[in-house]
Symmetry: C2
Subunit: 108 residues, 2 copies
């Protein structure tokens, strides 16, 4: 069905999944990598860097923004996008929680 039973998961689970989902596309990873290594962050430069159309880049930026992974600041006709670190602790905590050594004896 392509539909997800969102009612039956905890808010925490849904939030974590939605953040990872936004990170689950190479174009969006490439955008974040680009933003991290650049001193500027104008939308047009991302379009020039990635192998996608301006429309497609814009859609990916919307998704990253909706997930809270970037924030955009209008500056004249262009928009400056930057990484939003807000959810990073959530990601780190989730990964750490998976590392509890309860099951070490199980699949050895």
């Amino acid at each position: 069905m392509g539909v997800t039973k969102t009612d039956t998961y905890t808010d925490q689970t849904l939030t974590v999944a939605s953040i990872f989902k936004a990170l689950g596309h190479p174009a969006r990873i490439a955008i974040l990598e680009f933003l991290a290594k650049q001193t500027t962050c104008i939308c047009g430069e991302i379009v020039a860097e990635l192998p996608l159309s301006q429309a497609s880049i814009s859609r990916h930026l919307v998704e990253l923004k909706a997930a809270g992974l970037i924030k955009g600041t209008i500056s004249g006709t262009s928009v400056c996008y930057c990484i939003n670190e807000t959810h990073f602790p959530l990601i780190n905590t989730f990964i750490q929680q998976l590392q509890t050594p309860i099951n070490t004896s199980c699949c050895s």
Copy 2:
């Protein structure tokens, strides 16, 4: 098109994106959370815990396994699934790399 231009991204970018993609569904997050808090890890218990059919759970387990996030060990007729921490450093490194404070002056 729903198709991704995989040729034009680096292997590193594609790998990171595929790991996050596997994490980008609440059922798979719930499976990992379950595996982390249980002392046992039998497939059937996951089916009993989550609001999905056995077939759907199995598909999600295949995806998690393909992404290298779990490993399965056959034990009789049942299968014991455990978290595979192999890729966790990659995730942590990626998140850390996004935290370089180059753009701090940009979107304030």
